[in-house]
């Protein structure tokens, strides 16, 4: 069932109804995702195998790809790498629980986020929205300089961070860390990616550093560092800044 439910009179995808390419071999999952995404205003293209998916990604120009890592014919990683060779389409992977290694590799290879099976549609939609937002921003204006979530406000241009109106003093590294998280707000960043952006490519093996600084950041930003509101941890994979 590789058909798209598009209105034939409308030529090409429109931003109002973004096109989602779903590469998933299980028909039941495709079924419920179809139903859910359709009601949420997405147009769905389905592909049951990796090859079909890669071909569809090239020809149908989707806005976002949902990719299952456990495809029978191709390694999900290969698909990500191939697509990333010529496009920056956001990719969200569906992974089985307990495969941290695979998730990290997929994220480092270019996937934007992941959702672990079994998942609720709400979670997937939230990730999709974040990914689409970042994609749109990347394509469009050079980047918003202000960001806010909850009581936290970050002004990237002025390099100012306030929490409920109170300015927070951060060390340069803590600020760089926060800024990276803000730039990808809502998106999951792996240890590797964060280390690369904050410390440079030579320190990407020292997750220990990252954890210590994240802990410091948390202590400064969070009311209860043990119940973080903003700096969320994905154990074994990385960190994410809450976007809402």
């Amino acid at each position: 069932m590789g058909s798209s439910r598009s209105d034939p009179s409308v030529a090409g995808p429109t931003p109002a109804r973004p096109v989602v390419l779903l590469i998933e071999d299980e028909p039941q999952i495709r079924r419920f995702l179809c139903a859910a995404l359709d009601t949420q205003g997405f147009r769905l293209i389905e592909a049951a195998t990796g090859e079909e998916g890669v071909a569809a990604a090239a020809t149908r120009q989707p806005e976002i790809i949902i990719l299952d890592l456990g495809l029978p014919d191709m390694d999900g990683l290969d698909i990500i790498r191939r697509v990333r060779e010529w496009s920056t389409i956001p990719i969200i992977i569906l992974s089985a629980r307990g495969q941290e290694r695979d998730k990290i590799t997929a994220l480092d290879a270019g996937a934007d986020d992941y959702v672990a099976k079994p998942f609720g549609v709400g979670e997937l939609l939230a990730r999709m929205r974040v990914a689409l937002r970042h994609a749109a921003r990347g394509a469009g204006d050079p980047g918003e300089s202000k960001f806010s979530v909850g009581d936290l406000e970050v002004d990237l241009a002025q390099r100012q961070v306030t929490l409920a109106g109170q300015p927070i003093h951060l060390t340069p590294i803590e600020y760089r860390l926060l800024a990276t998280l803000v730039r990808h707000a809502g998106k999951l960043l792996t240890h590797h990616q964060l280390l690369n952006e904050v410390w440079g490519p030579n320190r990407t093996e020292q997750a220990h550093y990252l954890r210590v600084y994240t802990a410091q950041l948390r202590r400064k930003l969070e009311a209860d560092p043990a119940r973080p509101r903003y700096v969320l941890t994905e154990p074994g994979v990385g960190y994410r800044l809450a976007a809402e």
């Binding site: 629980r97 307990g98 941290e100 079994p118 060390t171 340069p172 590294i173 803590e174 410390w199 997750a207 220990h208 550093y209 954890r211 210590v212 600084y213 994240t214 802990a215 948390r218 202590r219 209860d224 560092p225 043990a226 119940r227 973080p228 969320l232 941890t233 994905e234 154990p235 074994g236």
Partner: protein, 839 residues
């Protein structure tokens, strides 16, 4: 296929060989150096011929071959399953070597052991009347034995030919007779078997010994009896010197090759030892060589043969004569002894000392006391020196006594005849004492040596018994072998690829060379020792022994002695083989223990799996039943439900699905823990991060409950696997939610404790039934609760993970109500220092 043939230049032979695949063919009249092309054994085995033709079975192979003789090659081929057609001459049989010499004056160097003909399936006798053979000789069609053609021609005298023909016919007849008996036995035809005879041959260090052995072999064959060969090590064995000892070793080895049991006894008198051994082994006939000593010695001291005859009771004694081959000079043991000058100063010193003492006490004491002083001196000398110095001591004592203390003084003359008697008695007493002392010392020495050997074996057995792992076993074995046998040792064990690999044993200095490695492979396959002192590749410096136990060969031991001469004695080889047997047993025991342990693990896994299955089937069906029921009721009554009911049903569906999901996750975790597939990858984490992640994941179930966290800011980093510890916290939180009423508080704490960090999850629920605190953590334990669902695995998984981190987990009731679960995380070491790159 033809393995090897020597055509001796005869054209009709070449014609006969046409059309047959030939491996090696020589056409010399007689080989110049006695060597010939060796058979390529591995190629032949690979080729799998229907029948291999091998000429001249008795030939020697060139020095670098695997076996020194061609018959050994053929034996190996037979063992590998190749059928061989071989040829040999009658005089080339080992047991007929002396007979051949007696008949023909030619010493046949290249012989074949009798067992080759005994084990043959078919013997075809090529028989010609002597006259025809002489005709062929005249025509030049016959190959002459021995390097010298003249002697060879002498070999072909008609008398010789007739005698040899008779031997050949008789041998063939014996073979046919044996086959007939076997046939009759196989067909269960009754025959009368002769009474079991047992033959004992005694050998000495003389060259005749080999003849005695061969004669005993013929004897044993004729009587179809078992036979043993024995050598008695007397005190004079130590004085034999290298050639003598080597001769004894060779003779014993020959005896073993011919099929005898070889024994070495130690004692001081040969006849007694032999007779007592014969009695214990129920020997019926004793074979001994004719004495070669001159008549006067025999008359004076008696010969061994005479003594045997005298003491033999019901045992028959056969005395074999021999004619010594002229080219081997016989050196008697006495002449071979070196002259230990050093020992002879002792009697001189002793006599001097005794005389001095005597002169001191002479005025006060009688003669008899002085005699005793000299006797004491003689005992002292005998206790330290050999028989020669002792004898000198006796003579000198008597002489000194006579000279200094018997009138007329300072002469050797004797005034009274009773003094002569006194001298005589003194001399005899001194002689006897010294003789006895020397013998006692020697016996004690040899007993000590035997005891040492046994003790060494016992020590190794004891150490091996207490070693559990293969590495320790090997180290113990190598150490003992090295200590007892003085040399370098290496042990090769089979590796999974099918080859043999030397094991790195601490301190072992032997690195096997390529030839030794090749030979080891051969040894491993054939389960026979090879190398120094054996029948296969004896020119190597090292000895390769198989480590064989009841289940087959477990490996190979390579031993390179510091002194290669030592290993030539078969008893040394036996001893080393005994050691290897012990090592093999120990290795087998270790293997079996490992297998037993694996079997035990398998049994446990099986029982766990079956317990899991029975529990799981119930626990899976329950949520599935709700899901199926709810979904089907939604489908059936789709139109009739109002939105609120529908929503409720859908929520049930969602909850049950989550429950099922949780159950499956727990099951998978438990299976992974149980099967050992759980890998804990520890890194340094701030604990609050993991707590935060767990709380984040539990957001929905925890809704509506107050959650209190008490984590100090300065809590150090802990070395944990964050995914696993998150799982522990989630399981504990799930339990807290399950077993406490809605809205009751849940508390998460962490603090530094001795040796690490302690984490606690506490609730205000009903608490734990007293007495169940430890049972809680067992698999499939479920607490009493209103909605008891779940397989009871959550806490078991927590314990597995915490213990995999080296920590402890326990539960207790709180004061004020509720349960508290605590676990420790040990912290050893410190997190890597961070460079301060930050402002």
């Amino acid at each position: 296929m033809v393995g090897a043939v020597n055509t001796h230049g005869r054209p009709e032979m070449d014609r006969l060989l046409d059309g047959l695949e030939c491996l090696s063919r020589r056409s010399t009249q007689h080989s110049v150096d006695g060597a010939s092309d060796p058979l390529d054994l591995d190629a032949i085995v690979a080729r799998r011929p229907f029948l291999l033709v091998v000429d001249e079975l008795a030939r020697a192979n060139p020095p670098a071959s695997r076996h020194p003789k061609r018959w050994q090659d053929v034996e190996e081929l037979l063992g590998a399953g190749v059928s061989v057609l071989a040829t040999l001459n009658i005089y080339e049989l080992e047991s007929l070597k002396d007979v051949a010499y007696r008949l023909t004056d030619v010493v046949v160097e290249e012989t074949v052991p009798d067992r080759m003909t005994e084990q043959a399936d078919e013997i075809a006798l090529v028989d010609l009347p002597p006259e025809e053979l002489l005709d062929r000789l005249a025509e030049g069609k016959v190959h002459l034995p021995g390097p010298d053609p003249e002697r060879g021609r002498r070999f072909f005298r008609p008398g010789n030919l007739m005698a040899l023909r008779e031997l050949a016919l008789r041998r063939t007849a014996d073979h046919v007779d044996a086959r007939m008996r076997r046939y009759m036995r196989d067909q269960a035809i009754q025959t009368t078997w002769p009474v079991t005879e047992r033959i004992l041959a005694c050998i000495s260090a003389s060259p005749h010994a080999t003849q005695v052995v061969r004669a005993a072999k013929r004897f044993a064959d004729a009587l179809r009896a078992e036979w043993l060969v024995v050598y008695v090590e007397t005190p004079s064995h130590a004085r034999l010197g290298e050639p003598g000892r080597a001769r004894v070793a060779d003779t014993l080895r020959l005896a073993e090759q011919l099929g005898a049991e070889a024994h070495v006894l130690s004692g001081e008198r040969v006849p007694e030892e032999v007779l007592s051994f014969a009695r214990t082994r129920n020997v019926s006939k004793i074979v001994v060589g004719k004495p070669v000593q001159p008549l006067w010695r025999r008359l004076l001291f008696g010969s061994i043969a005479d003594a045997l005859v005298r003491g033999s009771d019901e045992t028959d004694v056969y005395v074999i004569s021999g004619q010594e081959p002229s080219h081997v000079p016989y050196v008697s043991p006495a002449r071979m002894r070196g002259f230990p000058w050093t020992d002879y100063w002792r009697p001189l010193a002793m006599v001097g000392a005794c005389t001095a003492i005597g002169l001191l006490i002479f005025p006060y004491f009688a003669h008899s006391t002085l005699v005793l002083v000299y006797l004491l001196g003689v005992v002292a000398v005998a206790a330290r020196s050999g028989p020669g110095p002792s004898l000198l001591g006796c003579v000198l004592s008597v002489g000194a006594f006579d000279f200094f203390f018997v009138p007329p003084y300072f002469t050797f003359a004797v005034a009274e005849t009773q003094d002569l008697l006194m001298f005589g008695a003194m001399f005899i007493v001194a002689l006897v004492i010294s003789g006895l002392t020397v013998r006692i010392r020697w016996l004690a020495d040899s007993a000590r040596q035997r005891e040492r050997r046994t003790a060494a074996l016992y020590a190794m057995s004891r150490d091996l018994a207490s070693a559990r792992e293969v590495a320790t076993l090997l180290e113990v074995s190598v150490r003992h072998v090295r200590e007892v046998f003085r040399g370098h040792v290496a042990v090769l064990l089979p590796d999974p690829g099918g080859g043999l690999r030397p094991q790195a044993v601490g301190g072992s200095a032997l690195v096997p060379g390529p030839r030794e490695l090749d030979l080891s492979k051969w040894v491993y396959l054939h389960r026979q020792p090879a190398g120094l002192g054996t029948g296969t590749s004896p020119e190597l410096e090292a000895l390769c022994l198989p480590l064989t136990a009841s289940r087959g060969t477990l490996g190979v031991l390579i031993f390179r002695p510091e002194n290669p001469q030592v290993m030539q004695a078969p008893e040394q080889l036996h001893e080393l083989e005994t050691f290897c047997g012990q090592v093999a047993l120990a290795l087998e025991r270790a293997q079996l223990a490992a297998e037993a342990q694996q079997a035990q693990v398998r049994v446990e896994t099986e029982s766990m799996r079956s317990a899991l299955l029975s529990s799981v089937s119930h626990d899976l069906r329950t949520p599935l039943a709700s899901i199926t029921g709810t979904a089907s009721s939604l489908l059936e009554g789709d139109a009739t439900f109002d939105p609120a009911t529908r929503r409720m049903l859908l929520e049930t569906l969602s909850e049950e699905a989550e429950r099922l999901s949780r159950l499956v996750r727990n099951l998978l975790d438990m299976t992974r823990l149980q099967s050992g597939a759980l890998r804990v990858s520890k890194e340094w984490h701030p604990l609050e991060e993991v707590i935060g992640a767990a709380l984040g994941r539990m957001e929905r179930p925890l809704r509506g409950r107050p959650v209190v966290t008490r984590v100090p800011e300065d809590l150090p980093l802990v070395p944990i696997d964050d995914v696993l510890i998150e799982q522990v916290l989630i399981n504990l939180l799930e339990n807290a939610v399950k077993y406490t009423p809605c809205g009751s508080e849940i508390e998460l704490t962490a603090h530094v404790s001795e040796g690490g960090v302690m984490v606690g999850v506490a609730d205000r629920g009903a608490g734990i039934p007293p007495g169940d605190e430890t049972r809680l953590f067992e698999k499939f334990y479920r607490g009493r609760s209103t909605t008891s669902h779940g397989a009871g695995l959550g806490l078991a998984i927590c314990r597995g993970i915490v213990e995999a981190h080296g920590g402890r987990i326990w539960a207790e009731n709180r004061s004020g109500g509720g349960a508290s679960f605590q676990f420790t995380i040990p912290v050893t070491g410190r997190p890597p220092d961070m460079e301060h790159t930050d402002g």
